[in-house]
């Protein structure tokens, strides 16, 4: 009984040792078996990740190295420089009258100048977009140019938001009207430029007319003198002569005027 007991115990113990051996053995092989696919997967995913991150980084780098659509935004620089200006340092006065802060009105003016430049840029972008799209579809321009354009558009969006926020910080609801004001400023500037162009013609026109009138007068005087010498000239003929002189005088002057105008256009 004891023996059997012992044997059973033995067997059980041996059994258990066998069990423990068996249970510890297969997991080991299981893990070692797993290492291969895991290794495979890590290498695969790792290489994919490395490739994608490298690719993305390169792409970003290329995008960043693209020339920006517009030149430097001077007005924005001035505005931000004013914001960061240390007034005591910047004011030129000798001690007795140092500014405590940059005047608000100056900052507002700088902000409006910035909005004006933004409007001009937006107008430029809107004008360029359809033409650029057509050119891109026909393959006349490269993709790079399009990328630059898209980036400029996105930057302008950010810039406009930024300006609106700044304007609202100065005065409630100014953000809603600052771009309206800037737009009118832009229109007025264009109007004044055009008016100046037209007014610039005045001096030339006046000088031309002075010369022309003097020419007509002297021609007329000659005509009168010529008329008084041969007294037998019929009055009907003089009137036709007069006409001819006028047309003659008009011919070269007219051409000159036309040429001048063409040159200006």
């Amino acid at each position: 009984m004891d023996d059997t007991n012992n044997t059973t115990f033995n067997s059980s113990s041996s059994n258990s040792t066998y069990d423990s051996w068996q249970s510890s053995r297969p997991p080991k092989s299981f893990w070692t078996n797993l290492t291969l696919p895991v290794l495979y997967l890590t290498i695969l995913i790792g290489s994919l990740y490395a490739f994608s991150s490298l690719y993305r980084k390169r792409k970003l780098q290329r995008a960043a190295s693209l020339e920006s659509w517009f030149s430097q935004h001077k007005q924005r620089d001035v505005y931000l420089s004013l914001l960061h200006l240390d007034p005591a340092e910047a004011s030129e006065g000798e001690g007795e009258k140092k500014l405590k802060q940059v005047p608000d009105s100056l900052l507002k003016a700088a902000l409006l100048r910035r909005a004006l430049e933004d409007i001009q840029r937006i107008v430029q972008l809107r004008g360029a977009k359809p033409a650029l799209q057509t050119l891109l579809q026909r393959g006349s321009v490269g993709d790079e140019l399009w990328q630059r354009f898209l980036r400029a558009e996105k930057e302008m969006e950010e810039e406009v938001k930024d300006v609106v926020n700044e304007a609202n910080a100065f005065a409630p609801n100014w953000g809603q009207t600052i771009f309206q004001s800037a737009n009118e400023m832009n229109q007025n500037i264009l109007l004044k430029q055009r008016a100046a162009e037209v007014s610039a013609q005045l001096e030339g026109e006046r000088a031309w007319w002075e010369g022309r009138r003097a020419g007509i007068q002297s021609d007329f005087m000659k005509e009168l003198e010529g008329e008084s010498k041969p007294a037998d000239a019929a009055p009907k003929k003089t009137s036709s002569d007069d006409d001819a002189v006028l047309v003659d005088g008009g011919g070269p002057g007219d051409q000159q005027g036309a040429r001048k105008r063409k040159g200006k256009k």
């Binding site: 620089d77 507002k108 037209v198 022309r212």
Partner: protein, 202 residues
């Protein structure tokens, strides 16, 4: 671009509050800014920001109208020199409106004033001045401005530039036949016919 900017060395004059820079490339920009700043300082709106363009401050419009009226009165009396002077003043007043006021209004005012000045100049036989003023008037307002088109055509004709005048009137007719002053286009048409006739004769 978003978080960076180029710091520009700027200096402020403490008494006039105008800024200056040592960078010559920026000097024109700084000048413009100082000009705009002066306009800001004289603003009397709350918060000292420019008002929206829609309702315009009527003070200046009233003054301009007054000047135009007195110019018209002098013209009717026959003192064309005085009329031209008044129109000059009104034009200066209208073009010195602050930049952010409605540009449509500026166009309208200047167009009428240049037109009137052209008329006064034509009465004094100042053809080149009249021609330029009429062109300015047309430039400000192309449609609904039969008088402007007619006046420049007439001035050019008086100066003997018939061909140019005919071309000008043709252009004017194209604009005006479709415009709101269709009914008054007859005078311009008559001028055009005259010009074509004298061209055909020459």
């Amino acid at each position: 671009m978003d978080e960076t900017f180029t710091l520009i060395p700027l200096a402020i004059d403490p008494s006039t509050k105008s800024i200056s820079t040592s960078n010559p490339a920026l000097s024109s920009e700084i000048d413009e800014l100082n000009k705009l700043h002066r306009a800001f300082v004289s603003l009397d709106t709350p918060n000292q920001v420019p008002p929206p363009p829609a309702p315009v401050n009527p003070k200046r419009s009233v003054q301009i109208n007054k000047m135009r009226e007195s110019g018209n009165a002098s013209y009717k009396k026959g003192s064309y020199g005085d009329a031209i002077k008044m129109y000059d003043l009104a034009i200066r007043m209208a073009s010195e409106r602050p930049g952010w006021e409605a540009s449509g209004l500026v166009r309208e005012e200047l167009s009428a004033l240049y037109n009137n000045r052209a008329m006064a100049q034509m009465s004094q036989q100042m053809w080149p001045e009249g021609a330029v003023d009429a062109e300015l008037s047309v430039e400000m307002k192309k449609v609904g401005n039969v008088k402007g088109w007619w006046r420049r055509g007439q001035c050019l004709r008086e100066m003997g530039r018939v061909e140019e005048a005919a071309e000008w009137v043709r252009g004017g007719l194209e604009f005006e036949r479709a415009g709101p002053e269709k009914a008054n286009v007859g005078e311009l048409e008559a001028l055009g016919r005259d010009l074509e006739a004298s061209l055909a004769k020459a």
